[in-house]
C-alpha cells in the first residue's frame, strides 16, 4: 500500500473517532444532590460524577472564608459565606468533563481552587486518546517508500 494512501486512511479514521456521534446510554435522569465543602483552596469532594440529563443540586458549604463555585462550560455559579450555605441547581444536559472553580477571590491560591465534574462519560478524553493511538500506529507503520527500516 502506498504510504500516502495509508496516511489518508489514518486521517479519515481520526476524523471518525473525533466526530462520530456516540449513542447516549438510556439512563433515566435523576435528581442528584451533593454537599460540597469549600475551604482554602480545595473542595471536598473535589470530583463529582453524574449522568447526562440529571438535575444536579449542589449545596456549597464554605468552612473558612467566603467561596464561590463556577462550573466551566455550564457558566453557572453560586457563592456562600461560612455559616450560610448556598444552593446551585442546574440540569447536566451537556456530557463530558467540566472543571468547577472558585469565582470569589479567597486568598493566594484562589485561581487554582479547582474540582472536576464528569457528566456521563468523559467522551472527549477517550476520543483524544484513541486519536493519539491512531497517530502512534500511523507513525510506526507508515514508512516513506525509500527509507529502509533500521534496527
Amino acid at each position: 500500500m502506498n504510504p500516502r494512501f495509508k496516511l489518508l486512511l489514518f486521517l479519515m479514521a481520526g476524523l471518525v473517532v473525533a466526530f462520530a456521534p456516540l449513542p447516549v446510554p438510556a439512563i433515566a435522569p435523576q435528581a442528584r444532590t451533593f454537599e460540597l465543602d469549600a475551604r482554602q483552596f480545595t473542595y471536598s469532594p473535589s470530583e463529582l460524577s453524574v449522568n447526562q440529563g440529571d438535575t444536579v443540586t449542589i449545596h456549597l458549604v464554605s468552612t473558612d472564608v467566603v467561596h464561590g463555585l463556577y462550573v466551566d462550560g455550564y457558566d453557572v455559579s453560586v457563592e456562600a459565606d461560612p455559616g450560610q450555605s448556598a444552593t446551585l441547581t442546574f440540569v447536566a444536559d451537556k456530557p463530558g468533563s467540566f472543571r468547577f472553580r472558585c469565582n470569589i477571590t479567597c486568598g493566594a491560591m484562589h485561581p487554582f481552587m479547582i474540582g472536576k465534574l464528569t457528566v456521563g462519560t468523559n467522551n472527549w478524553l477517550y476520543r483524544s486518546i484513541t486519536i493519539l493511538l491512531l497517530a502512534l500506529f500511523a507513525l510506526i507503520l507508515i514508512r516513506p517508500a525509500k527509507q529502509a527500516r533500521t534496527t
Binding site: 464554605s62 473558612d64 472564608v65 467566603v66 459565606d81 461560612p82 455559616g83 470569589i104 477571590t105 479567597c106 486568598g107
Partner: protein
C-alpha cells in the same frame, strides 16, 4: 557625546524616573484602609478620626478574602469589601463619640475580632446661632 546619544539618555532617564515616581506619588497620596483577616492584622489603620457634620470619605480594600464594613450605632447598609477592589464609603456623624466599625462577612475563625474605632470629635468650636 553625540546629540542622538544625549537625547536617548534623556528619554530613558525621564521614562524610568516617570514610571517610578508617578505611581509612587499617586500611591502615597491615596490613603486606603486595608482589610485583612484578623490573624493577619485586621483593619489597618484601625483608628480613624472624624468631625461631627463633616463627611468622612473612606476608601477600603481587602488584601486577602471577602470582608464587609459597617459601623455600629449607625443606620447603614454594610458594604462588601472585595479583594483587590476599592470600595468608597462616605459617613457623616451627627453626634460626637467613639463609634465601632466591624467586619460583616465571615472571614475566618477570628472574624468577630475584626473591628476598629472612629473617634468623632464634637464641633465644640461652632458659634451657636442666635
Amino acid at each position: 557625546m553625540k546629540r542622538s546619544e544625549l537625547l536617548s539618555r534623556l528619554i530613558v532617564a525621564v521614562a524610568v524616573i516617570g514610571v517610578v515616581g508617578a505611581p509612587l506619588y499617586l500611591w502615597s497620596r491615596t490613603p486606603i484602609i486595608h482589610a485583612r483577616m484578623a490573624e493577619n492584622g485586621g483593619w489597618s489603620p484601625d483608628v480613624l478620626q472624624a468631625e461631627v457634620g463633616k463627611p468622612l470619605h473612606l476608601k477600603i480594600t481587602s488584601d486577602d478574602v471577602v470582608h464587609g464594613f459597617a459601623v455600629g450605632q449607625m443606620d447603614m447598609q454594610s458594604v462588601d469589601i472585595l479583594p483587590g477592589k476599592v470600595a468608597g464609603i462616605t459617613l457623616t456623624f451627627d453626634k460626637p463619640g467613639i463609634y465601632t466599625f466591624f467586619c460583616t462577612r465571615w472571614c475566618g475563625l477570628n472574624h468577630w475580632r475584626m473591628r476598629g474605632t472612629i473617634e468623632v470629635t464634637g464641633a465644640s468650636d461652632t458659634i451657636p446661632s442666635d
